[in-house]
């Protein structure tokens, strides 16, 4: 029954205040009003949301770009499935071949490994490709310098240089470059710059790619053109299918009287440096998830604290007739408003930085970012996570807050004041100057939040320190590489010649202690699954050579000249499916076969290789005791002296008839490996830093919640005479206690984490388990960074605590 009030009539008569409200309006006014009450806290929440969203968003964006674009760059070139060389291809009718059912595309693309002068006196490998027609690539195509279209056609006698090579050489379009082919040096003009995204970046592999027409190829190399056929098969979906198709083709060639010399099948449809990208994407993904998780914990804490401060208001709202749903609506709107605000800041940033990171990686891996507009679902993801994140995170607190009975809500005196917290005890202690005991007691008071804070911070510390340890493991691996090969300069010849012939040019050089001569060639282990493509490099050396000291993985090193024994590196072991050490395997070299015992597997960061005693090799396949590589050991091993030695060696080679594949300093070899790992090392530390920063923000927020909750207590302390310095020091000391606890816990957990991470990254990148290393620098940096972050994270809120006046603090609810 409704009772008619005379007031209503009166209302109807009185002239109105402006008509302002729709249903949402007034509730929304409350939301915006509440958000404005404590701007510091709201800024912190938005900041945390922005960091979390930004981090996750840029990872999503760069992931979407990179995941697609490297592969797209690669497949867009129409990469080859197989390359077959033969001297008999003049008998081949290319049109007839192209008409065969299994052939999708076929083209001649000659290839030779020469050397090119990048700086005066500096020679590095040159991979020279002979191209039939620069206008009509049917496969393995290249682009102009910026990847936007076909390459220019170099005029006769000139070459096109791949763009990545410009970064570490003096080469440029216009002036001629000096190229060594066999014993001759030729001047080849650089007609222009091209782009070949299917190749491993030249900067990392320390080589130059160049492209010439057929005639120029013959002129430079002295070899006939059209001796190497590149092919794409129809419907080949696996490496095995390519293999089978290639085998079939070889048989077909036999019927034409064409003998294939080599068949090379690259990794199936994968960019050679896809592994680097996979590692980066994995790191990004896991760190992104972690940052997201930490950010989420932090945001939910802050929102819970905001809601805790609003309990009494919830009581009033309900007392004046708000239903639980209406209260829920108000706080849901608040969470959404936070989401919208942080999304507006974070999403544009995320798109920008995601692109920037993708471009950075693309630049290092030498490919073009092709994604010009992000897929629409990307924006939907970003906006959804921006809006959903704060809503989901605040949902438990909102539900808890709206469910609280009106009577209790009305009786709530603001956020937990831990009413009556042994105040007398506290007061007692306040007579002393601020002491650690008090800070410690305070730190322990809110155990749950403390646990979350310490856990988040420890996680940050653990990951940060693990980053350094993994980096150290990689560095140790590099120094292992350095230590495992004791020679200083290596000269590898294209052909094998007698030892006397090889050595005679170097007798005049000063800084040489001795030269060891090795031989080797390609070979394979038979009866193994993968005996087909490249096989492995076989190195024949004095069994007791002191130039090699590899770390052993299994078994032992070669035991003597008389034993038919081999040792392989772990890459070869992987290639052959981890053959049993101690077992006998049939080795085939230059058409000859030998049953040899696998004595051991060693750790070497190199291509698949098999080592055997010179005597065994010579008896099998080298009756003339030829050699093809010269290992120089310098008398003075200083870097400059070895550099000079290398130049002297180059000088000695120049007028000789030696056909050199490459001359390389051991230090350069290490540098090449380092350059392959550099981007990963940089990213590890960067991401680790990110985690630590997010953790520190988490700590700052936890400290500020503590301070918010204890504002009244601060007032009490001030009222009884605590100076601002005492209070400030109290809160900073609390922060430092959390930091120190986190350092201990974090460092403790970084130990097993580092072991697992080293193993994992080793396997991912190098197919070898990295050994756990403890980084002393990392330890010190972690210690200092955590203390500094902890100090800043508690300093800022502590400053606020001090700036509140005693009266305000006492009346704080």
């Amino acid at each position: 029954m409704h009772i008619k009030s005379p007031l209503l009539g009166g209302v109807a008569r009185s002239a109105g205040v402006g008509y302002i409200n729709t249903t949402m309006n007034i509730k929304f006014r409350k939301v915006t009003g509440d958000l404005r009450v404590n701007p510091g806290r709201i800024i912190l929440v938005i900041f945390a949301l922005v960091i979390g969203l930004w981090g996750v968003g840029s990872i999503l964006v760069s992931y979407a770009i990179l995941n697609r674009d490297l592969n797209e760059n690669y497949t867009r070139t129409n990469p080859l499935h197989a390359a077959i060389t033969s001297k008999d291809f003049k008998r081949l009718d290319l049109t007839a071949l192209r008409n065969r059912p299994e052939i999708e595309k076929a083209e001649f693309r000659d290839f030779a490994t020469l050397r090119i002068e990048t700086h005066p006196g500096e020679w590095i490998p040159l991979w020279l490709f002979g191209v039939g027609d620069f206008n009509t690539f049917s496969l393995a195509r290249i682009y102009n310098q910026n990847g936007s279209g076909g390459p220019i056609t170099p005029e006769a006698g000139a070459m096109l240089v791949e763009r990545d090579g410009l970064r570490f050489s003096n080469l440029k379009a216009g002036p001629p470059a000096r190229v060594r082919a066999g014993g001759r040096v030729v001047n080849v003009p650089v007609a222009g710059i091209g782009f070949d995204p299917a190749q491993a970046p030249g900067t990392q592999d320390h080589l130059i790619y160049a492209y010439v027409d057929n005639k120029t190829y013959s002129k430079i190399t002295g070899e006939a053109a059209n001796q190497r056929l590149i092919i794409r098969f129809k419907n080949a979906k696996t490496k095995q299918e390519v293999q089978a198709a290639a085998d079939g083709l070889i048989d077909y060639f036999k019927t034409l009287g064409i003998a294939a010399d080599t068949v090379k099948i690259p990794k199936f449809m994968e960019h050679p440096h896809q592994w680097q990208l996979n590692t980066l994407l994995f790191m990004e993904g896991s760190i992104g998830f972690l940052a997201f998780f930490l950010g989420a914990v932090l945001v939910s804490q802050l929102i819970a604290a905001i809601l805790a401060g609003q309990i009494r208001q919830i009581g009033i709202l309900k007392a004046i007739g708000a239903s639980r749903f209406q209260v829920f609506q108000i706080y849901l709107m608040m969470a959404l408003a936070l989401g919208v605000m942080s999304g507006m800041i974070a999403i544009p940033l995320a798109v920008k930085s995601g692109y920037a990171y993708a471009c950075f990686v693309a630049n290092i891996l030498n490919f073009e970012v092709l994604t010009t507009s992000l897929p629409h679902y990307m924006y939907i993801y970003l906006m959804a996570s921006g809006l959903l994140l704060p809503v989901l995170l605040s949902l438990p607190a909102i539900l808890k807050g709206t469910r609280i009975p009106v009577r209790e809500a009305l009786n709530d005196y603001g956020i937990n004041q831990d009413a009556g917290v042994k105040k007398s005890k506290l007061l007692d202690k306040m007579r002393l100057p601020v002491n650690l005991a008090l800070a410690f007691e305070n730190t322990m008071r809110r155990k749950k939040r403390l646990a979350v804070t310490v856990a988040a911070m420890s996680l940050g510390v653990a990951i940060f320190n693990t980053g350094f340890n993994v980096q150290q493991s990689l560095k140790d691996l590099l120094s292992d590489v350095n230590n495992s090969m004791k020679h200083d300069v290596q000269v590898v010849l294209i052909n094998q010649i007698s030892k006397e012939e090889a050595l005679k040019y170097f007798s005049g050089i000063g800084n040489i202690r001795r030269i060891e001569t090795w031989n080797g060639g390609r070979g394979a282990m038979q009866n193994m699954v993968v005996s087909t493509d490249d096989g492995v490099g076989i190195i024949a050396l004095p069994y007791n050579s002191d130039l090699l000291t590899f770390r052993s993985i299994k078994g032992r090193w070669l035991s003597g000249p008389a034993e038919p024994e081999i040792v392989m590196n772990q890459e070869a072991a992987v290639l052959y499916g981890n053959p049993p050490v101690g077992g006998y395997h049939t080795l085939s070299v230059r058409g000859k076969q030998l049953k040899a015992k696998l004595a051991g597997i060693v750790e070497e960061f190199e291509k698949p290789k098999i080592y055997m005693a010179q005597e065994q090799y010579d008896a099998l396949a080298n009756p003339d005791h030829y050699v093809n590589s010269l290992m120089f050991v310098a008398r003075d091993k200083g870097y400059g002296k070895v550099m000079a030695l290398k130049r002297d060696i180059e000088k000695a080679i120049e007028p000789s008839s030696l056909q050199v594949l490459y001359v390389m300093m051991q230090a350069e070899r290490v540098k090449i490996i380092y350059d392959h790992l550099r981007i990963i090392l940089v990213t590890i530390v960067f991401l680790a830093m990110l985690v630590l920063v997010v953790s520190a923000i988490g700590m700052a927020s936890a400290t500020s919640i503590n301070i918010m909750e204890r504002t009244r207590e601060i007032g009490v302390l001030r009222a009884i005479g605590a100076t601002p310095e005492i209070i400030y020091n109290l809160f900073v000391a609390e922060g430092m206690i959390v930091s120190i606890a986190s350092i201990f816990i974090g460092l403790f957990f970084s130990w097993p984490l580092s072991i697992v991470a080293s193993r994992f990254f080793g396997n991912l990148m190098l197919e070898v388990e990295l050994h756990y290393s403890f980084s002393k620098t990392g330890f010190v940096i972690t210690l200092i960074a955590t203390l500094i972050f902890g100090w800043i994270a508690s300093r800022i809120p502590a400053q606020r605590a001090v700036s509140v006046s005693t009266r305000e603090a006492l009346s704080y609810e």
């Binding site: 005379p6 007031l7 209302v11 409200n21 249903t23 006014r29 004046i320 007739g321 749903f325």
Partner: protein, 232 residues
């Protein structure tokens, strides 16, 4: 309507570590519509607990509360919210305005929740209510900018927002000086004149006002009920 508000054998006790504490003991109480009732008693005697039974802010441990033929004790939280919004206006001792909203917005918010006043009439009604409690000048101010007496008048306007038949006030003048107290208490008397049932908890001496009834509590029991039969 003599038995507008009926308490039947209402008890409320609180369990605690030190045992059960009885805040209200077997209260039987009938209040007629349009009455002006004072509830008196020392601090801790159970006045607020009694009001909480009436507004549905708290539930009896035992017994029934029936108001205008609604069994309030039996309503669940969400039904209570709707019922309370339409039927009871509450005024607290500490004003309890939403600090981030202006006076006008505080009143609009209450209208918005309950949604019985048509949207188009709300602004006008706010003006009329503020005029009635005498603070028309403060319409667009935030609560902090108002004096205690003005805040309490704004709170009364808010309690009247949805035109409820019952107005309850828990020590509404406890924080006010005697002059302001007089203004507030007179305002209640005026409201009774417009047909509202007004129930005020007070431990002021009842000097300023003629009440229809003065109910005195002690230790959770009604020890005095002056003027019980006046309207009967």
């Amino acid at each position: 309507m003599p038995n507008f508000i009926q308490f039947n054998q209402v008890s409320r006790w609180f369990e605690s570590a030190s045992g059960r504490f009885d805040a209200l003991k077997n209260i039987n109480l009938h209040i007629a519509q349009g009455n002006h009732v004072a509830i008196a008693g020392k601090s801790g005697s159970g006045k607020s607990t009694l009001l909480n039974m009436l507004t549905g802010i708290d539930h009896p441990s035992q017994g029934t509360v029936r108001i205008n033929s609604t069994d309030v004790h039996a309503l669940n939280e969400s039904a209570l919210a709707g019922w309370r919004g339409k039927n009871v206006g509450i005024v607290f001792q500490f004003f309890q305005l939403i600090p981030t909203l202006t006076v006008k917005e505080n009143i609009l918010l209450a209208m918005d929740f309950v949604n019985v006043i048509p949207g188009r009439e709300r602004a006008k009604r706010v003006g009329a209510l503020l005029a009635q409690v005498g603070i028309s000048q403060q319409t667009d101010k935030l609560p902090v900018a108002l004096s205690g007496g003005e805040q309490q008048r704004a709170a009364i306007a808010r309690a009247l927002a949805n035109d409820p038949p019952i107005l309850v006030a828990d020590e509404p003048t406890g924080n006010l000086d005697s002059k302001t107290t007089e203004i507030i208490l007179n305002l209640f008397t005026e409201l009774v004149g417009t047909g509202k049932t007004v129930i005020v908890v007070t431990h002021e001496k009842v000097a300023y006002v003629e009440y229809d009834r003065i109910i005195t509590l002690k230790d959770g029991m009604i020890v005095d009920d002056t003027g019980r039969s006046r309207t009967q």
